[in-house]
Amino acid sequence: MSNAVWDPSQPILEIENLSISFFTRLREIPAVMDFSCKVMAGEAMGLVGESGCGKSTVALGVMRDLGKNGQIVAGSIKFKGRDLVKMAEEELRHLRGSEIAMIYQEPMASLNPAMKIGAQLIEVPMIHQGMARVQAWALARQIVADVRLPDPDRILNAYPHQLSGGQQQRIVIAMALMSKPALLILDEPTTALDVTVEAGIVDLVKDLGQKYGTSMLFISHNLGLIMDVCDRLCVMYSGEAVETGAVAQVFDDMRHPYTQALFRSIPLPGADKNARPLISIPGNFPLPHERPKGCNFGPRCDYFQAGRCDAGDVAMADVPEGDRHASRCVKWDEIDWHAPPKARVVKEKAPIGKVVLQMDDLKKYYSVSGGAFGGGHAKVVKANETLSFNAHEGETLAIVGESGCGKSTFAKVLMGLETATSGTITLFDEQVQSTPIQQRSVDTVSSVQMVFQNPFDTLNPSMTVGRQIIRALEVFHIGTSDAERTDRMLELLDLVKLPRAFADRMPRQLSGGQKQRVGIARAFAGGAKVVVADEPVSALDVSVQAAVTDLLMDIQRQNKTTLLFISHDLSIVRYLSDRVLVMYLGHVVEMGSTDQVFQPPYHPYTEALLSAVPVADTKVIRKRIVLEGDIPSAMNPPSGCPFQTRCRWKSHVAGGLCDSTMPPVQTLAGGHQIKCHLGADVLAKMDPVITFAAE
């Protein structure tokens, strides 16, 4: 092999002026243009950008797996000095999986559903090293243990669907490591996972990188994650690399307006919805065949100068003082990078009114049957256990928790899509816990509405935007004539800041952020008083997230709406909510004002959750608490405290109380509630998870 001639001081991967295009019947669509980057041995390189910027295309280009339509039109990809672009298919096959391995975004979809885990793992050394089956099995067993999975023998004999998401991703990682590759490509490896699981995977990837000396190409849209994992990064925008350099340098001394705009649009600790609101990037991402002349970011850039920025192609320019720091901006030398942003508008805080929604001891149980052919005993899933809280007019109440904690079940019960097992929901003096939505009055239905997570699936693809909003108005009996309803629909488009011309568009003609605005307009069509927003921005790009959250906040200020904001993203929760409710396995483990929840004393789970969220700020010092294992199944919850299986404070409680007894709700100063056995003295001594380094 050519390993012998390769000099380790040379880059493992060197991409030069790479251009990749996709060819359709109509035209050639350039996906990546003039992309260059270098990854040294043992280095972790991050690729950041929004969806459609071409970062995954670069990764697949390195693998030379661009499908039938994709083609590398220019440039070279040198791996250990050999050009992959000119390599023959058979030679490439020997490289794939043995020298370059890839880890994918959706672990469930990346594993063969009809093959056992073990069979999928042992394939790699059997193909590349010609290893015998027995030895390959032993190796697989060892690697599965290496990725910190319990009980490797059981796992090797399991099918993918029998494992949890986190375990599946560990298997995908194990598969990539089976033949100790020199380069590992990770394409959004944790996006589909919960934050506490993500923290574990990130730790694992970092440790394994050090242990095996593997170089990494880490693709993510999450700047915080890049900071945790990578040494260097490359920011991409619309098919081009716009800035590249060492992580700390790019984060603190960015030299490209897009990088700066990106940082200003993500909620970092210290941002506040009223005093220091986020600044979203104006305009939309250009479609690949509608890119502007000159700088691609030009039309959305604050520093745009006609005649210079749109004159011609902009080349990457080295930033002298940095370590291989470069920016694709003609004006990088002239811009005052430390000037505060101009566009920041300070907004009034909305007053909080009377109680509109009250939950008392709400419980929701489901029964499910077990066994492959329907036999076995029926089991009860306790999706919500003793949920009690109230929400006020004009308030944003965030409901935080990981998948399976019961937050969506609670929303369904409130909306009337399910009925409660016991307990009460009082909505404006009316008890609605056991009234399904079909039996609710039009008033009740229109006053409680929902904004859904995925705007791509929740709009009818064959109806115009305007028609869908009018339909909602009809259902809510608003307006007496079609003309009146059309007027109201146009007002609603104004409310969500969409041009009135959009009324005649089909959903497929809209971008994700625009679709979500239509979803919001529909929710507010009947003058909703309580809006349940179920992860309304998690499917959107970061630069659009800020705009959509701001919109929600503006409408809330105008209409005094009560917003129940369901999210797993603590950064955005800290930014916009007044009160926070943390859920774990159907239980509310902590509730209080945003400050109370984000400051010690914490519930041990909140503490872990906070420490798991990556923060894209070099000045923030974060305590690392990695939870062991997965979230227990709601079908088979642990005895005593639901969190006891993963809690690191368990030893501070005497007498094994955590194992045996459900903790009581302790009310601390200011109405801050914590469901935990820890004594007041222990809680008082907790350290904050996030501290700012002295500037």
């Binding site: 797996d65 391995a101 594993l111 559903p113 193909i127 066994g371 492959a372 052919f373 329907g374 036999g375």
Partner: protein, 361 residues
């Protein structure tokens, strides 16, 4: 598993009862019975005579009661006419009425007597089912492997030349019904006047007048390639196209899945990607289609067996229906219903073994 099978068997029993009742009701409509009376008794019977013949032979009364009698859950009818001859459902021609059993329906094994074949229904059914069984077996053995190979080859590289050629072939065959393809095959290969046979005969390559035999009657006693190939090909051609289309669709979908990309980027060769990673997943959807093809074959054999004069289930069904042979038709419907339901049960169970994610409930 056991609970599932028991539950399914229960549902099947109910389905079978309902379906056989529908057939019973339709075959026992008054005009049919009148025809039966005239053909069994005398063509020149008066209407009054017909009515009394029906009365004597237990064809009057509630259709539900008669259905129950036929099933064997209600006591069979017994009549004594003015000559003192006692007739009954359960009384044979020379049997002593006193010793006859009370119940005698299909549950007791009494499926009746065929008026056309002059044999018991069970005997005729058994014989024709055996003949059709051989035909179906041959069809399956030919059809399924060919269809799967065509489907997989076409689906593994969507849009390639192989795909286009094979897809055209399968569309063409699935668009050609048996009565068309059968006639074409006969004209082409089994006619002394047209097609290949006269040419081959003039060259002296074949001993007889035709290459294949145009009738499969001799296959009833002894199956050979030359008398059996055409009926088998006629039925299989249609099914090949259909199953191949299903397999191709399923295969193309599987080939775009992410786990196929994973396998490819692991360095697995294309051949192994198809054989080890794609095949089992791609078989899940066509498996159901193949099992559905069994009942369809029962249907398809009606035309083919008549065309090739092969005295199997289909031929028998046509003859029985054409001659108002009520008990034969009822017997055939019982067999057909059970056959369909059992293949569907096998299909559901097989599905679970192919697809580890499925849990039946």
């Amino acid at each position: 598993m056991l609970a599932f099978v028991i539950r399914r068997l229960g549902v099947m029993l109910v389905t079978a009862l309902v379906l056989t009742f529908v057939v019973f009701f339709l075959t026992n409509l008054p005009p049919n019975l009148e025809k039966l009376a005239r053909s069994e008794g005398s063509v020149r019977m008066t209407d009054a005579a017909v009515a009394s013949w029906l009365e004597e032979h237990g064809h009057t009364g509630s259709v539900f009661y008669r259905y129950a009698e036929w099933l064997g859950v209600a006591p069979g009818w017994v009549n004594t006419d003015e000559k003192g001859v006692t007739r009954g459902l359960c009384i044979g021609q020379r049997d002593d009425p006193a010793l006859a059993p009370k119940f005698c329906g299909i549950f007791q094994g009494n499926w009746g007597f065929s008026t056309v074949f002059k044999k018991t229904v069970l005997y005729s059914l058994g014989k024709s089912m055996a003949a059709t069984g051989w035909l179906m077996l041959a069809v399956m053995v030919v059809m399924v492997p060919i269809a799967l190979v065509i489907g997989v080859l076409a689906g593994m590289r969507e849009g390639s030349r192989t795909d286009r050629v094979l897809s055209t072939f399968s569309i063409a065959t699935s668009a050609t019904p048996e009565y068309v393809s059968g006639v074409i095959l006969v004209a082409l290969l089994a006619s002394p006047a047209t097609g290949l046979s006269p040419v081959l005969a003039s060259w002296g390559w074949i001993g007889g007048k035709t290459l294949f035999m145009g009738t499969a009657t001799s296959a009833m006693d002894h199956i050979t390639f030359w008398n059996f190939a055409l009926p088998v090909a006629t039925i299989a051609l249609y099914g090949v196209g259909y199953i191949a289309r299903m397999t191709r669709a399923s295969m193309t979908e599987v080939m775009t899945q992410q786990y196929i990309r994973t396998a490819r980027l692991k360095g697995v060769s294309f051949r192994q990607v198809v054989l080890r990673h794609a095949l089992r997943n791609a078989m899940i959807a066509p498996f159901t289609v193949i099992m559905l093809q069994f009942p369809y074959l029962l249907n398809g054999v009606v035309i083919t067996e008549t065309l090739f004069n092969y005295k199997g289930f289909g031929w028998m069904l046509v003859t029985a229906a054409g001659n108002n042979d009520i008990e034969m038709l009822l017997g055939a419907s019982v067999v057909a219903v059970i056959f369909v339901l059992v293949t569907q049960l096998i299909s559901d169970i097989g599905y679970v073994f192919l697809n580890p994610r499925i849990r039946l409930g």
